[in-house]
Symmetry: C2
Subunit: 175 residues, 2 copies
DNA sequence: GCAAATTGGTTGCAGGCGCAACCACTCTCC
DNA sequence: GGAGAGTGGTTGCGCCTGCAACCAATTTGC
């Protein structure tokens, strides 16, 4: 397991360098991935519920009756994903759909009794998990984390729009 | 687009509550997703390089010649993913493989000349992107972010192990 | 009042990904 | 030195997911 003597040539030719381990997008991706994976085991192992389904349940838990559209905007899920998650939850008897007579394109979605029960069981576990996660942080750090995440998130959406519209950083206005 | 008058019943029946938008795992997932997507456009649109391939390139850029195994551990990628990413990069002529006569199971992987060129072009753009991203943060906040991410990441891995081994939070040792 | 555009939602398809099985090679230990 | 365990790497398979095309219902504009 040592591997001493293995090459791992310390990158000679390139002047430019970028340390992946210190690269914010990478760090965020790894952290989010680890967290999601761990958390999903909590409800997947016990209830056979996948991540998108959990998101839907959670949205329905807080907003009550809504439409698929609303679920999508609140949870930032693609409408395809919402559609399939709701369908899966309906098959499992955790949500119910009812028609909206005012607009027959959309349908109302609600947690069923079983759905509410599951929500009531998963929620504390999820909260515990989040608590355990931030448990390593001081209360100040938690505050920092909150503001930083908010700022980054806003700015990232902004940047995403810019990039989508061709205003890429470093693509034309650079030296 | 207003939708006033739509139901969105404020969740009556459940006593438990969990606000998805404030839930750390969710926030991390959304942020990481936004960032990854934006960033990937930088190298995907211009070079047709996918995220896993970029990771491999970046690792090779900093470590020089390595094996697939090493790439995996440095980039936290599943060996399947490394295998496919390297194969794709080889097809594109961006990396080269050479045999290790000391151990014929593994093979050395290096950036080709073109690979180094691409690395040299993408790296500054990626760095710019990261700079733009943290541009909203004060230098103190950047420091905070760094320590917080490190702590969270360590702790998350820890938690992941615990959960994988059945020591779930809230599953037995609670109240 | 009706054709065209828009919107909520579903689905076929193709690409990406992890798991598990597998192959080739190496190491261990008798 | 040879059988069995272990390791680096690849691949078949099935699941998940986003895109684009689509359907039905609604809204817009003439």
């Amino acid at each position: 397991m040592t591997g001493q003597g293995k090459p791992e040539t310390p990158a000679s030719a390139s002047d430019v360098q970028l340390n992946l381990q210190e690269f914010l997008p990478y760090r965020l991706a790894v952290l989010a991935e680890t967290v999601s994976q761990s958390l999903s085991q909590l409800y997947n192992a016990r209830y056979g519920i996948a991540i998108p389904e959990w998101r839907v349940i959670s949205i329905l838990g807080q907003y009550g009756t809504t439409t698929a559209k609303q679920i999508g905007t609140h949870s930032r899920m693609h409408k395809t994903m919402v559609s399939r998650a709701v369908a899966a939850l309906e098959r499992k008897g955790l949500v119910e759909r009812s028609a909206n007579s005012d607009d027959m394109r959309e349908a109302f979605v609600t947690l069923s009794a079983r759905g509410r029960a599951v929500y009531g069981e998963i929620t504390p576990a999820a909260a515990d998990f989040a608590d355990a996660l931030v448990g390593v942080l001081s209360s100040e750090e938690r505050g920092h984390l909150d503001t930083i995440l908010t700022k980054l998130n806003d700015h990232a959406s902004q940047l995403a729009d810019d990039i989508a519209n061709g205003r890429l950083p470093g693509s034309g206005d650079r030296n």
